[in-house]
């Protein structure tokens, strides 16, 4: 007992002051991109290098954050400096179209809906399903339970059974072998329920979208309420997304 108390004193208080205080991320953290200025004529360098086909080119590039893995390869090859990634970690959106970026950084507004807040604002239990996830998304969801983020202080937690859940949070490119288990878990949850796609793979298939046993994203199967981009999403991106969606910011 003495050693436990001593260790508690050494380790100190570890929970972050988020959302009151903004988190300090690595200066190299890659967040929302911005697209500014004019492209060189007939240049397709960014589209060609993109490993997940996240860039569409019309007059200027449009980056689909639902597919982007934030590798910054496009920024590196862009000689005109049209694409530049910022340190902005607040990325989540409630519609797929809102993830398409083709201009300057817009700060994400409130995502909360009245009925969601009324239903789940005080308590949200989520069932996590990994459908082909590589364990990076899963690990960074797990981390939300550690003292640093302490998800439970916001009334949100991960439930062991779909019967105890209000919704699912899905990671991975929904490969063939996991499609049925995913749908059956979803069906086991009683209405009303929400669906969250976490990470590029779950939103759009990400880097695996072209593999024949992977899907083009969760919304090809179910209506998705919240999209959290990233590869994997930073824990603060996820935390901000959940709090914003529930109107707890």
């Amino acid at each position: 007992m003495f050693f436990i108390l001593k260790e508690r004193w050494i380790q100190g208080y570890n929970t972050s002051a988020f959302p009151k205080v903004a988190p300090i991320l690595s200066p190299r953290f890659v967040g929302t991109p911005q697209i500014k200025g004019a492209c060189a004529t007939n240049c397709t360098a960014c589209k060609d290098i993109c490993p997940s086909d996240a860039i569409k080119l019309e007059t200027k590039p449009m980056i689909d954050l639902g597919r982007c893995i934030f590798c910054k390869d496009c920024e590196d090859v862009c000689e005109e400096g049209v694409i530049s990634f910022s340190n902005e970690y607040r990325l989540a959106q409630t519609s797929r179209e809102a993830l398409h970026v083709s201009g300057e950084i817009e700060h994400i507004g409130m995502l909360v809906k009245r009925e969601i807040r009324a239903l789940f604002g005080r308590s949200l239990q989520l069932r996590q399903i990994s459908a082909g996830g590589c364990n990076a998304c899963e690990a960074d969801l797990n981390v939300l339970g550690t003292p640093t983020y302490d998800l439970a202080r916001f009334g949100i937690s991960f439930a062991a059974s779909p019967r105890h859940s209000d919704g699912i949070i899905v990671t991975g490119p929904i490969n063939e072998h996991m499609r049925e288990p995913l749908l059956r878990t979803y069906e086991a949850i009683s209405e009303p329920k929400i669906v969250i796609a976490s990470g590029a793979c779950a939103i759009s298939g990400g880097i695996f979208h072209a593999n024949d046993v992977c899907s083009q994203g969760l919304d090809t199967l179910l209506h998705v309420d919240l999209y959290i981009p990233g590869c994997p999403p930073h824990p603060y991106t996820t935390l901000h997304a959940l709090l914003n969606y529930l109107g707890k910011l």
Binding site: F3, I4, E7, R8, I10, Q11, N14, L25, S26, P27, R28, F29, V30, I49, P51, I69, F70, C71, K72, D73, I129, S130, A131, G132, G133, C134, N135, A136, C137, E138, A139, D140, L141, N142, V143, G145, T146, P147, T148, F158, A160, N175, E176, H177, M178, P181, L182, T185, C201, I207, F208, A210, N211, D212, V213, C214, C231, P232, H234, P235
Partner: protein, 496 residues
């Protein structure tokens, strides 16, 4: 007499023609001799279709001498005689060959699917069952209760006692090996990084080393150092997380909370280098993507120094608690003979007093000529696997400090840009790196146009899932979470 071709480096590349094509019987005689008499172990065994004919390739390694031998034979009539009964360590490889290419290993004792969780075109998925009035069966998964990847476990129990645990995987299969074929693309490295998300650096190092061996690119000393730093940080982070999770599984929540948080601190150090907590984008063909300059090296050193006592303190609490030790000791024992027979690798082997570490046996990059400390335990139980982790964390802290010190000396050197990667035609290359679970091995075979014809990945989990299944025999079903966590194997690394 025709023999396997020896190689002395890791990674290496060689023209396919230089590797002799043996007859089936001679091939297997050589393999059995090498494994049973000459202390070699199977690093990779796979089928490849070259010029419209199927061949079976093997890569053997001798951990004591660092010698690697490669051999192959041509498959006649789409079948060969199974050797699983003579060599237990190839049981999964032979099933995998059958599932991937339809080549039948005749008389294989149990040809069940490897990655098709249901009945597949090539074989039946019959679960093993023990008959008897008091026997009951417990089925778990594919969707588990925690935030974890999917897999199916089936226990045959007599009361609380487990007679047999059958592990049925494949739910995570994303077709990665197939997606890596053809012309090398930017997407390939990214898929390799996500092959097994918690071992990003281990897998991407293997991929990059293979590409470099094939194209003759040499990376600089500084880039090799950065790679090693990323890999060791990955090891510390996962080991700390695992001890925390073990602690959670025995309901010792103090260490579980601290380690969960401290693991995040190590991930944040990786993020200071690559911007990503898992080291995504850190390694590229021909070097590393992100530089560590003098100031960053200093910051990392200071932060590591500050974290070390906190991490070791949290872990010490776990190891000095008698109620914890009581649960760890003599639970899930893997004797050394099983490690030898089934080819278990990495951490599992080290916990059973069997040193299998790519960094010491087949040194590469910054590990060449480095006097690396290793950690070995004798008891082979959950305690030993936890203890090996603890020792490795300590060793890694020291190692990363040394690596950073060496890096400071050459901090002014600029890292190079990515180079062209046109591959030579009809070449074979093999590369290994030591992830935190154990040795990762990647093989590439190119065709006559220099496109990738075969990409083979062997994750340590491929060997070690069998260990979990064996460790549960005669144990209690309530010990399963603890046992499982002491291995903490990758589902997607196995399912590919």
């Amino acid at each position: 007499m025709e023999d396997f071709k020896p190689f002395f480096t890791n990674p290496f590349a060689s023209p396919i023609d230089a590797i002799p094509l043996l007859s089936e019987d001679l091939f297997w005689d050589k393999v059995i001799l090498a494994v049973n008499e000459e202390q070699f172990r199977v690093l990779s065994l796979f089928s490849a279709s070259l010029k419209q004919t199927w061949q079976i390739w093997i890569v053997l390694g001798n951990d004591a001498t660092g010698l690697i031998k490669v051999g192959r034979f041509r498959v006649v009539d789409n079948a060969y005689t199974s050797r699983t009964e003579l060599l237990s360590c190839i049981h999964l490889f032979e099933r995998e060959i059958y599932e991937q290419s339809g080549i039948l290993p005749r008389n294989h004792p149990w040809l069940k699917p490897v990655r098709s969780p249901h009945q597949s075109a090539c074989s039946q998925m019959d679960f093993y069952s023990i008959e008897g009035e008091d026997i009951h069966e417990v089925a778990v998964g594919p969707v588990h209760a925690g935030i974890i990847e999917p897999g199916h476990f089936r226990f045959q129990c007599y009361g609380e006692k487990v007679g047999h645990l059958e592990i049925s995987l494949g739910y995570q299969h994303r077709g990665v090996e197939k997606a890596l074929l053809g012309m090398p693309k930017a997407n390939h490295l990214k898929q390799v990084e996500a092959l097994c998300g918690d071992s990003t650096t281990a897998h991407s190092t293997c991929y990059a080393q293979n590409m470099e061996a094939l194209t003759g690119i040499k990376i600089s000393e500084k880039e090799a150092l950065i790679r090693a730093i990323l890999l060791e940080l990955e090891r510390i982070a996962n080991h700390v997380g695992d001890i925390g999770a073990l602690s959670g599984d025995v309901a010792f929540l103090t260490t579980a909370s601290y380690c969960g948080k401290l693991r995040g601190n190590i991930l944040n150090l990786t993020a200071q280098i690559t911007g990503n907590r898992f080291g995504r984008g850190g390694i590229c063909i021909g070097g590393t993507r992100y530089d560590i300059d003098y100031a960053l090296a200093q910051t990392l050193k200071t932060q590591l120094k500050a974290l070390q006592p906190k991490i070791m303190g949290a872990i010490e609490l776990f190891f000095r608690s008698p109620s914890v030790l009581d649960r760890l000791e003599k639970t899930g024992i893997i004797p050394q003979e099983w490690v030898m027979a089934y080819g278990f690798t990495g951490l599992v082997a080290k916990a059973s007093n069997c040193l299998r570490d790519v960094r010491t046996s087949y040194p590469y990059g910054s590990y060449i000529d480095r006097d690396l400390k290793t950690s070995l335990e004798k008891s082979g139980d959950v305690f030993a696997r936890a203890k090996v982790r603890k020792e490795e964390i300590l060793i890694c802290f020291e190692l990363v400090q040394t690596l950073l010190k060496e890096l400071e000396m050459i901090a002014h050197v600029q890292i190079q840009k990515q180079q062209n990667t046109a591959l030579p035609a009809e070449y074979f290359s093999f590369s290994m790196s030591e992830g935190w679970r154990g040795g990762v091995a990647h093989t590439i075979i190119t065709d006559d146009k220099g496109d990738i014809q075969r990409y083979k990945v062997v994750d340590p989990s491929f060997f070690n899932w069998t260990a979990l299944s064996l460790a549960m025999r005669d144990g209690q079903i309530s010990d399963f979470p603890l046992c499982n966590k002491s291995f903490n194997l990758s589902y997607c690394g196995f399912d590919l």
